[in-house]
Amino acid sequence: MEPFIKLSGVAAPINRVNIDTDQIIPAINLKRIERTGYGQFLFGSWRFKEDGSPDPDFVLNDPKYQNPSILVAGRNFGCGSSREHAPWALEDFGIRCIIAPSFADIFFSNCFQNGLLPVVLPEEQVQQLMEKLEKDPGTRLNVDLDAQRIWDEDEEVVLTFEVDPFRKECLLNGLDEIGLTMQQDDKIAAFENRH
């Protein structure tokens, strides 16, 4: 897994609540057997009109938010299906950090497995950030995982966030969870012997 240490990039706002994984990547696009190549399908139904042309009204098609690496969205982001294709699609598109007031559990966990940082901030702070990004499109944010801090160049936005220490450590070092668990192999074997 690619470590997540620091990130600096354009932040794009999607001011909707309950963005489900069927919107992030529709089921019809889950048929590949690879981990890569899903970025083309990200938010497919919102990015593209019925004739397949880009919908200029959707933020990810707005040239003012070119090449975003951060998304800011409403609460309960990633609800619905457990498909890990959702973080794969985000990552393949170039998104490494998502900021929202809350995340669905499985999506939240899937992000950490793929070097993506989901940041939970109070609803009010997310709303203020959303307004700032809409007012000043193309705003670049800096994310420092070790310092647990997010800020823009003018320091008009300066935010701190909480992250579980174990998950932070895994992200900073790009740790493989399976490898970590396998270090406890004797305990797994002992459990199996008891049952």
Binding site: D20, Q23, I28, K31, G80, F166, T181, D185
Partner: protein
């Protein structure tokens, strides 16, 4: 010792390793796998030179991609076929039991697990599918996981999890007549919201829950994820034991008796506390219909489509406006005036034998409305065979319904069963997200009797008035 909830008992019994500040390592008793969320996990194992640790605790089938047309016809979608073939290739030499498209045990993972007796009280069950919560109906801790976690379970037979919080959803009083399990869970989600359960395992309790059959309990637990919960569960009782008894992979004879003795120790003890309690009066429940684009956008059959202006919070108002535009609905339209084009009877929520019986009861001797195309997709090959032995297939086909082969089908539209843009569907599935059943498709979630009644009338009707 302090009193424990059922969840805590199962958790403690499966904790292999716990360390402060770290997710616990939890042993997995049953790992169900299917074609969509496993190819990358097997690839990961191969790249790291790892093996499947416990093939004997892993069960594989194909369900998401498979066409529901006759088994004599091939899979024509090349990419689907590639994914189906990939599973078969990945399973070679692993020793994992595989129920392929032609197996009499094939079906939706969450239907075959309990039906074949793999799912048993007290077990930990995982699958790369969010509706794994279904299995909690038997008194399991059952949860959906991502593909990286599938790989973790294949390699180690364990899962790393931070301990979730607990939540009791208590239904007071008996279920009113004409109200079924699907209405109960839609009513619960309507009350707690689709993020009400985040970070929690829900235990459903109370008289109305106890009175439900296992098929009904599975419908409830299935949609725990739609309330945002990590898992849902119901304490095992005589109904559970009778259900498990005699199933193909359930313990037999004295082993079964010994297992029941253990299972009786599972229920939450008196005095144990949950982190959160939600109480619902069963008497307030009616048949429910969703009107919007998530399962929390739901109302009673006797109500009208809400006016977005009636929502107090700005983002709820905007979400409702967006949903009504997508759904092609006007505010204040009576739900019973909404006309439908399609009916889908199926999905891991409502494709078990009792669901099919309940729908057949409604349509017996009647015919689908000429403007409606209705399809029935049994949850498994065994459910299909059982229904055919009872003659249910004839009731459906005589009524003009299409009788299909088992699979996930139009619940998520990965196979050829999809809605066309603008088509409106009464569906017994679990998600009404935009495009879920096909791009531009409009989904209304309902119970099997409500779906059947809508197929006959061509619009939603109150099943209690039939």
């Amino acid at each position: 010792m302090p009193s424990k909830t059922m969840f805590e008992k199962i958790w403690d019994a499966h904790a292999v390793h716990e360390e402060p500040g770290q997710p616990s390592i939890i042993y997995v008793d049953l790992h169900l796998i299917h074609e969509v969320t496993t190819p990358q996990a097997f690839e990961g194992l191969r790249l790291a030179g790892r093996k499947v640790r416990r093939p004997d605790l892993t069960v594989a089938t194909v369900d998401h991609n498979t066409p529901t047309w006759d088994l004599s016809m091939p899979v024509t979608d090349e990419i689907s076929k590639r994914q189906l073939d990939a599973l078969e290739d990945n399973l070679k030499d692993t020793g994992i039991v595989f129920y392929d498209r032609y197996s009499p045990n094939q079906g939706i993972v969450h239907v075959i697990g309990p039906d074949l007796g793999y799912t048993q009280p007290g077990k930990t069950v995982v699958c790369g599918d969010s509706h794994t919560s279904t299995h909690g109906a038997l008194g399991c801790f059952a949860l959906g996981i991502g593909t990286s976690e599938v790989e973790h379970v294949l390699a180690t037979q364990t899962l790393r999890q931070f301990k979730p919080k607990t939540m009791e959803v208590r239904l007071n009083g008996p279920l009113p007549s004409g109200v079924v399990a699907k209405d109960v869970i839609l009513g619960i989600i309507g009350q707690i919201g689709i993020n009400g359960g985040i970070g929690h395992v829900i235990e459903y309790t109370g008289e109305a829950i106890r009175s439900l059959s296992m098929d009904g309990r599975m419908t409830i637990c299935n949609m725990s994820i739609e309330g945002g919960a990590r898992a849902g569960m119901i304490a095992p009782d005589q109904t559970t034991f009778d259900y498990v008894n005699g199933r193909q992979f359930a313990p037999k004879g004295q082993d079964f008796e010994a297992a029941v003795d253990e299972w009786r120790k599972l229920p939450t003890e008196l005095g144990a506390t949950f982190d959160k309690l939600v109480e619902i009066e069963a008497a307030d429940l009616e048949p429910f219909v969703t009107w919007g684009t998530n399962p929390g956008m739901v109302t009673k059959i006797t109500n009208r489509v809400p006016d977005p202006a009636s929502f107090s919070q700005a983002h709820e108002r905007e979400a409702a406006e967006r949903a009504l535009t997508y759904m092609g609905l006007e505010p204040n339209t009576p739900i019973q005036d909404i006309k439908i084009d399609r009916v889908f009877l199926g999905a891991c929520t409502n494709s078990r034998i009792e669901d099919l019986r309940a729908a057949a009861e409604i349509i017996k001797g009647k015919h689908a409305h000429p403007d409606v195309y209705a399809m029935v997709v049994p949850g498994s090959a065994r459910v299909k065979a059982e229904a055919e032995a009872e003659g249910l297939d004839r009731i459906f086909t005589d009524a003009g319904f299409d009788w299909r082969v088992a699979g996930c089908s139009m619940c998520l539209g990965m196979n050829p069963d999809v809605l066309q843009p603008g088509q409106r569907c009464a569906s017994t599935s679990n998600r009404n997200f935009e495009g879920r059943q096909g791009k531009g498709g409009r989904t209304h979630l309902v119970s099997p009797p409500m779906a059947a009644a809508a197929a006959i009338a061509g619009h939603f009707v109150d099943v209690r008035e039939l």
